[in-house]
Structures are given as C-alpha cells and as structure tokens.
C-alpha cells in the first residue's frame, strides 16, 4: 500500500518537473469533466424533477415502468433494434465473405456499396424510402396504377429495413477484417482432411470469425438502439426510446421525462459498450502470429458464389436506387404528383437556407479538428505517461462513444442553459457538441497509432539532446499526421451528418443542414429536403476525394 502511495507521489513529482506537460494534462481534465461528466450528471439531475422543475425523486422512472405506453415503446425499441441488427450483421457478413474469401466478380463495386451508407447521413436513406414507398412514393403510385395495392414503408418493417441498410457497413468492416486475417491454409487443411465446402465453412471459417461477429453485433446493436432519424421519419404510429426522448422534451416540454428516458436508454448502451470492449480484448484466433495471414483465393464453387453475387447485387441496387432517388427528388416539382424538372428547390435552399450550409461546413470543420486534436493529445497521455487519475481520463475519453446522441444533446442543453456557464443558443455549444461527441474517435485512433510507434523513437530523440517539446514537435506530431487526417475526415463526416444531438442545440440563428433536412421532411417539403440532402452528400464526397488525393489516406479511415 505504502509502495503504491510512494509511486503516486513520484509520478506527480515527475510531472511537475515538466510544467508544460502538467498544464496540458490539467487542461484536458478540466475539459473532460466540464463537457463530458458534467452534462451527463445534469441529465441525471434533471431526470429527478417534474415538468415544472420540482424535485420528485424517482417518480419519473416509476411512471415509465408503470405506463403501458412506455412499455410498448421499450418493447418496440428492442424488437426493431434486434431485427435490424440481425439483418445488418447478416448482410455485412455476406458482403465481407464474398469480397474477402471468394473470386466473385465486381468486388470493388460491392466494396464501395458496402461503405457508401457510412458516409451519408443515416436519415437520408430513411427519407429516400419515403420518396419511393411513402404514400405518394413513386413505386407505390406505380403499384397502385398497375396492380391496385401499395406497399407502405411506414411502420416497424420500414424502420428495420432502413436501419439495416444504414448499419450493415459496420458489420462489413469488422467481419471483413476478420476474414482477411484467417490463413487460408487452415481451410485447406480441412479440405485435405476430407471436409466438403459447406462443412469447412461451418466448422472452420465461421467459428474463427465468431469473436468478430460478436463485436460487430454489439456495435451495430448500440448504433441501432440510439438511432433517431429513421424511427422518427418512418415510424408512423410507433415510437422508440430515442424518438421519445426528443418528443418529451422538444415536443411536450417535459424535461424530467425526456431525461429519464435517455437515462433508461443509456443503461443498455453502456452494457453493450462494456461487452464490446471486453470482447475486443479477447478477439483473438486471427492474429496469433502477428504476421499477415496468408490468403490465397482459389475458384469458389458456383453454388456458394452465385447466391452471394445475387444477394449483394440486390442490396447494391437498393442502395443505388435510394441515392439516385434523393438526387432526382431535388429536381422534381412535386414529387410523385408533378415530376417535371425544376430548380426551384435549389433556388429556395440557396435563398433561405444558405446560412445552414455555411454553418454546417465551418462548425463541423472546427468541431472535427478540435475533436481530433483533443483525442490525440489525450491518447498521448494514455499511452505514454503515468499520472494519477489516468483511469478516469480513459473512461471520460471513451464515454461519449457509448452515450446515445440524444443524451449528449440533452445533457448540453440542461447543463449549459444556466449559470455558471450559459452556452445555449450559441454556435459554440454546437461546435463543443461536435468536439466531445467525436473526440473518442481521435482518441482511439491516436492510441492505436501511438502503440505502433515504438517508444524508442522518443527516447532516441531525448538521447540526442532534444527536450520534450522539441521531441513532440519534430517526432510525435509528424508521426501522428496520418491518424490526424483520418480522424478529422471521419469526425467531419459524422459531425456534418449529425442529427440526434444537434437537434437540441440549433436555434433559428444557428441552423445546420442535417436538422434543416429533418424539418423539411417533417413539414412535407420533400423537394427541398432532397435538394439539401444531395448537397450534403456532395460536400461529404468532395471532402473525401480531396483528402484521398491530397494525403493518400485510404479506406482505412473507416477502421473502427
């Protein structure tokens, strides 16, 4: 015990010898406590009050449990999330298997298809489903005219399909990494020992990627659980927890109930996050040797290849249709009713919503850069330094990753609409929201990168006479550059397409594109929504192209 205390004292003494490092560390702590811990605490505090702000203890929670309405919301949430997750996992795995383990044609095309939904706002595909299969959706009009029935997308099935398309890329990325890590000689041995194709798949290939499948399932489940856009747009009569948290607060102004619901939503998210982390640590068979696996793809039997190609093609057609529809929707006078070409929607957007576009771009840029910088600085301390409170910093640094967007947005509102720090209604609060919500990504990328950079590089620099600030500037920062570019790109995409937490923070003065699109759809201005969505995707794709060209950054930025 004494040895531990003595160790701590020595750690502090060592830190104080480097005042620059000490103050940066202190500053990070203050930021994390103020913008991560404090907002979440505020949500909890608020959940113990009623709609007029009186302390009522656990009354909101008890009401939630006893109310048949909320019980149904809870049930629907888990039903939708479970089915969407299973669908996404299956789709992602089939894509991954086809691309990494077979000799099927069009691999790079399918790969783009499997990544595309990640870089577009999650609610845009929900919105596109409305254009296709809503009450006035073009497919439905066609069906009505020819066959006399409609396939209305609103309802559980619609949310599930939309969520599945949005989240299957996560499954694809994780499982394809696992598939490429399996040495084909293991499968060859199984063949050699007399097993046939399907038996090899069942007894060798899939057991080997089970840990990755579990990790993917948990991550997808978390994402689906806290989704707001698709259920809000496609839910029809039903509601889910994330939607309910927004409705209770922004709709009926019952902040006590809204915050209670988001706390209830936090519990499973947290649990999943914890499970995912412990799984990651054990995820294993694949990289035993540390050497790249030997993967040799030979011709795949047609009975395996053909169903995969057909399946991937169908999904790809759906995805392309969704995006083409949104693009076309921006040019149709009244979608589904009068499909004549017009530029009115774009004119309207540039006249009325130009501010949103400008805001989105600069606020997301600033948010992405600060999120990544902060994440990288914290990752440096986590990997390279010892200091008291390290575990707390690790926890607070990853926490926003596990916290649903609605809760983060709610937290910022209830924490910063009163002294000591009033920020609501400003641009700063939106940027801070982007910063702290996307910080864990910079943090994780930084940790992964720094762990691969041998500490001896820093030691050799010191040995050659360079004090720490010089080493940081000349050695550490340049080596973190790829991580920084990847982090900023990813954070920017996520920030500019962010809806769930930003919806709490926008004001007429500080509007952003994503929230505008949502409001357009809600108000029935589908043309304007489509035009704005097209523009948003154009910005994102342009940015990725520029960075891709400029830095040679690869698709690895989508590694999670």
């Amino acid at each position: 015990m004494n040895a531990i205390i003595a160790g701590r004292v020595q750690e502090i003494k060592k830190l104080l010898r480097e005042p620059v490092v000490f103050f940066i560390l202190l500053f990070c702590f203050i930021l994390l406590i103020n913008f991560v811990a404090y907002p979440l605490y505020s949500v909890f505090r608020e959940s113990l009050r009623n709609e007029v702000g009186e302390f009522v203890g656990l009354k909101n929670y008890l009401y939630f449990i006893s109310s048949p309405y909320f019980r149904k919301v809870l049930y629907d949430t888990f039903l939708i999330t479970t089915l969407a997750t299973l669908g996404a996992l299956l789709t992602g795995t089939i894509f991954a298997f086809g691309i990494t383990r077979t000799d099927m044609p069009l691999k790079s095309f399918f790969m783009v298809m499997a990544i595309l939904p990640m870089i577009t706002p999650p609610f845009v595909n929900a919105f596109s489903f409305i254009l296709l299969l809503g009450r006035h959706g073009i497919i439905n009009i066609f069906l009505q005219n020819t066959l006399g029935f409609k396939f209305i997308i609103y309802g559980k099935h619609g949310v599930i399909i939309s969520q599945m398309i949005t989240t299957f890329p996560l499954g694809f990325l994780i499982t394809s990494a696992a598939f490429s890590g399996i040495d084909t000689s293991m499968e060859d041995s199984a063949y050699d020992l007399g097993a046939k194709d399907l038996r090899v798949l069942r007894t060798i290939t899939f057991p080997l990627i089970t840990p990755a499948l579990m990790a993917a399932a948990l991550l997808i489940y978390m994402t689906n659980l806290s989704a707001f856009g698709a259920p809000a747009l496609l839910g029809g009569g039903l509601s889910v927890l994330a939607v309910e948290a927004v409705m209770q607060t922004l709709g009926v102004m019952d902040w006590g109930m809204g915050t209670t619901i988001s706390i209830i939503l936090l519990v499973p998210s947290f649990l999943l996050f914890y499970l995912q982390n412990s799984y990651k640590k054990r995820r294993s068979y694949v990289t035993v040797t540390g050497k790249p696996a030997h993967v040799e793809i030979r011709s795949t039997p047609l009975k395996i290849k053909l169903p995969i190609v057909i399946f991937c093609s169908i999904i790809s057609v759906v995805i392309i249709t969704l995006y083409v529809t949104v693009f076309l929707g921006g040019f149709a006078r009244v979608w589904g009713v009068d499909n004549s070409f017009t530029l009115d929607h774009y004119r309207l957007i540039f006249a009325n919503a130009f501010k949103s576009i400008r805001n989105s771009i600069w606020m997301a840029s600033l948010g992405a850069v600060s999120a990544t910088l902060l994440g990288l600085v914290i990752s440096y301390f986590m990997v390279r330094r010892r200091f008291p409170g390290k575990k707390v910093m690790d926890f607070l640094g990853t926490l926003p990753y596990a916290v649903p967007g609605t809760m983060m947005g709610l937290g910022f509102v209830v924490a910063f609409n009163r002294p000591p720090l009033i920020l609501t209604g400003t641009a700063i609060i939106i940027i801070l929201d982007y910063t702290f919500r996307r910080m864990p990504f910079g943090f994780r990328t930084g940790v992964a990168t720094l762990k691969q950079i041998d500490i001896s590089l820093e030691e050799v620099s010191a040995d050659l006479g360079a004090p720490w600030p010089y080493t940081f500037r000349r050695v550490i920062l340049p080596l973190l550059k790829p991580a920084f570019i990847a982090g900023v790109t990813f954070a920017f995409i996520r920030a500019i397409t962010e809806l769930t937490s930003t919806i709490f923070l926008v004001t007429p003065r500080w509007r952003v594109m994503a929230v505008d699109i949502y409001n357009f759809v809600e108000a029935g201005s589908l043309g304007a929504a489509a035009a704005m969505s097209s523009l948003l995707m154009f910005i994102v794709v342009t940015l990725i192209m520029i960075l891709y060209k400029a830095s040679g950054a690869t698709m690895s930025i989508f590694r999670l």
Binding site: S456, E459, A462, G465, P467, V475, P478
Partner: protein
Amino acid sequence: MEAVSVRLENVTKYFQEKDNRVVAVEKFSFDFPPGKLTTLLGPSGCGKTTTLRCIAGFYEPDEGVIFIGNQKVNKIPPYNRPTGTVFQNYALFPHMNVFENVAYSLRVRKLSGKEIRDKVAWGLKLLKLRGMENRNPDQLSGGQQQRVAIARVLVNDCKVLLLDEPLSNLDAKLRVYMREEIKALQERLGVTTIYVTHDQEEAMSISDFMVVMNEGRIEQIGNPMEIYKYPETDFVAEFIGLTNNLEGEVTGVSEEYLKLRTAGREIILPNKNNFLGLSPGDAVNAVIRPEMFKFSREETPKSLHGEVKKVFFLGSLARYEITLEGGKDITLDDPNPKSIKDRGDTVWIEIDPESLYLRKTG
C-alpha cells in the same frame, strides 16, 4: 577526444508490478574503463538493459550513484547526458531520410547549415553510407539501418556509446560482419562503449571486458579469456558455452602434480601452477569445456573411463555424450575426427591439465 569512464556505485533499480516490487538491478558497482568496450552479458531479464537505460538516463536508479567522467548524472535528463544510445530496433525516424536522421541532434543544437553538412558527411563516410542521404529508413537493409543509427549518435560527439543488443535483428552472417565493424570503429574512435548482449559468442569476440549478469546481480567481471577459462560461479560456467562439471576431491598436491579423485578413479595431473591454494581433502568442482577432453588409446595415470552414449557428427568436429564410471554424463568434442566412435564403445579420456580450472566447493 578524451575518453571518459562510467562509474556505477551500488546502483539498484526496482519496478512496480501490480503490488509487488521487483528488483531489476541490485547493487551494481563497476567502473567502466575509458576508451574500452565492455559488454553486459546475461540471459533476458538479467537486468543488463535496465543498467544500460539507467546510464542513458531513461531510468532513474532507486539507489546508488552514476558518474560519467567526474559528473554525477542521476538527476540529469537523457537530453543533457553525453551518452549516445543505439537501440535494438535502431529507432530511426521513419518520417526523415538518412541525412535528416543523422542531422537530428545537430539541428537540436542549432548548428549552422555548413557545420551540419560537414558533420553528417563525416558520419556517413565513417559508416560507409555515402550516397544514401536521401533514402528513407524503409528503403535500407537491416545492416544499413544500423549504420545510420550508429552514425546518428556518433555525430553528436557522444562520449559514451551505449549499444542495446545492436545485432539481434540482423541475420547470422551480417551479425559476424557488423560486430567486427563495430569493434574496429570503437577502437579507432577510442570511445567508451557499453554493449548489451545475451549472445556469449558475440560478447567474447568483441569485448575488452565482460560483466556477466544474472537476476539483477553481477556474477563475474573479467576479460573474455578469464571468464571463459575461470568461471567463478556455476551460472557463468553454464552460460559461457557448453561445460562439464565434475565433482571431485583433492587427494594429494605437490609442485609437480596434483592427485584428484573423481568419476570412480584417482588421476594424476601435472601441476602447471594452476592448482594454487589447494590442499588434500578439498572438495572441488572441475570446470571442463568439451574441447578440453581428448581420447587416449589406453589407460594412463590421468585418464578417465567411460562408455559412448550418443554421437553427433558436426562436420568440423564430432561431439560425444559419454557416461563416465560412476554414472556422470559428460560432453566431449573431438575437433579432428579421423574416425568416429560408435555408441556402446568403451573409451579412455584425458583432461588437458593446462586449461583445467578447479574451484573449491567445500
């Protein structure tokens, strides 16, 4: 350049592992002679690298003092010490080319452009790296990377060169070549050098002095010949190559001969002044390298008797495992095998008395 000495006095370093305090180096005292190459030799985990890192300044010793020249350096950070470390993985900066890597310390010191160019050119010439200035580290072979790492510390006018297992990432042939290069360079520059390795052959071939370490402590200090011939502990005897330990008892000693009872026989060995301080009745441990045995045609006063158990023909030598009378197994190397003995043959074996080392055990 004036060579400096490195003096360690009772240096002790602990590591905190969970709740345990583990001793990595315990009371290490040695005065590394100036201008000489000294190896720290021992198995992994013996504390040799920790000792090196204390000298470089990456670790602060928990007890004891370190002097470089006349300066006590315990509290001096690595960037203010006159040491230059070559790491096991070379630690070349991947985002800088060869020139910039070598120039790093000169830029830290803010030398003028001309001085930097001159010094880097000197370093690259010394290490036979001219023409490689613009290559990136990943375009170099392992041997070239290592030369860059050495050039990088040498241009910094380092007074103490610290090498941490510098050859372990090279293939066998290159290892032999590079260790000769390092030795030649060290002699030419006369820089005090401390060299960490776990490879006894490497250590023997380049050291002026060797410090053999085990479990954080110094086992023995000496020049390669002394360490090989007169190992003071069982550990050293075992670690420095194959060795046979014969227990025995001195039964008589004079200026001309020594009588030794061992392996079921009493043998008489001529005394070549290497059996000083022994008297009849002493229990001794005879440390015998495999090449110190040789076969004799017939029984002689100094021969032992045994039976061949295993035979390995290794090209330039034949190695035998032989069970002596009384059941003791030994290894014998026949460096000039004209004919190979078979398993089951009974043989007479003599010990080369000149290189025999008897260590008192009781």
